[in-house]
Symmetry: C2
Subunit: 238 residues, 2 copies
């Protein structure tokens, strides 16, 4: 253990697991550095910058998206991270050694983000794209572990936070139910789920309907932001 003050200085980054929901599947946004090198969006924290602001800046810098729901879930240390660096396959490469030396004492603060899938469209240059969770390749650093932990945190939070940020602004109850079923990996009774959501009292039933579907058109709903915020507060307290 090296106790010189200079060596205790750490590079601190914010790493974001951005979840999207599409076609009844939960997806994660990945950055592509090369054909083999993928990672989560990440970045440094500026001087005076609150950590949460850094997380939201990182996401808007990479994808342009604003105002995402962000939740800090864990902070990761150095040990587990000194592996899976660029230039992998050749542990002795100078690039890898330099990278390790520079990054060895990194600390990463993990956030998960919930966004409307439609709002984030993979860019033309293909530097980032959505990936279904089962298909996620081996990522740089310990980003695979981070996604795993983010998912655990999301599931836990879903038990006492009403989460609607993964849906478009207007959505049907069925879509919301599918979202819950996918994240929690279980089925709900349509009628009970409907009652549960109504009891939360933060949904606004719109006069519009989703047309073009088979059979009867379902109503569209949207979040009453004000009531939603208080529901979030109440959900957290006991």
């Amino acid at each position: 253990m090296d106790e010189q003050p200079g060596n205790m200085i750490k590079e601190v980054s914010v790493d974001c697991v951005m979840f999207g929901f599409h076609a009844d599947e939960l997806k994660v946004l990945l950055l592509k550095w090369s054909d083999q090198d993928w990672s989560l969006p990440r970045g440094r924290i500026f001087r005076y910058e609150p950590i949460a602001d850094a997380a939201s800046r990182v996401l808007s810098e990479t994808t342009g998206i604003q105002d995402v729901f962000l939740q800090q879930f864990h902070t990761f240390g150095a040990t587990a991270r000194v592996r899976n660096l660029p230039g992998h396959g050749n542990n002795e490469s100078p690039e890898r050694l330099a990278y390790e030396l520079f990054h060895e004492s990194i600390v990463s603060i993990g956030y998960y983000a919930l966004v409307d899938f439609e709002k984030v469209v993979p860019n033309v240059t293909g530097t980032y794209q959505w990936c279904e969770i089962p298909a996620i390749p081996e990522l740089l650093l310990d980003h695979n572990d981070m996604i795993e932990l983010a998912l655990v945190a999301l599931r836990k939070d879903l038990r006492y936070l009403p989460i609607a940020n993964l849906l478009p602004q207007k959505f049907t109850l069925r879509e919301m139910q599918k979202l819950y079923e996918t994240i929690l990996n279980r089925k709900f009774d349509r009628r009970n789920f409907h009652k549960l959501l109504m009891s939360y009292d933060f949904l606004i039933k719109l006069p519009e309907k989703r047309l073009g579907t088979a059979n009867k058109s379902p109503h569209l709903y949207q979040i009453d932001s004000e009531k939603y915020e208080t529901a979030l507060q109440d959900g957290i307290s006991y």
Copy 2:
């Protein structure tokens, strides 16, 4: 916002909210720097050192205690922390300014620790001591907020983790009940609590009893570490 790389370097510390339980009250260990200056135990993370190891090292360095139950609960950024620094009462003091400059970009990883109150005896020089939660003075940095958040995290964890680390090795069921009642701030029925604990199946009933109490002496129990570990695992998963 200053984007020069040199300014993005952060000092990373581990700050520990160490809980103890005594006389039916939850207490927190505070460090005394002067009559007015108190803080939580904290320290830097060494090179290559896992964060959790740093937390446990910080606690053993300050109090000598080993093998404590540690749980990371939140990471704190710079903004909320640029206040309540030594030399307070005089915002213009050179000491304060120097301190702020040096520490402005600090990141603190918060852990809470659960320890047997008896194992940590305030030292002769009085550099640290236990303090009941309602009596906690204004602390340095944002340590008051950290205690608040640690308590919220502890309460949340108590709902799905069986926590016994705040008690001495041998304890009575009544003591365990008091612990739960204090942390969750509610009462339990003696018989129901007994049934609940027994259903967990990680307690060993000892032949000994706690003598010297009024009336019938209660049995002593201790944790079956092996079963306790599996209970912790199961408690976390869904």
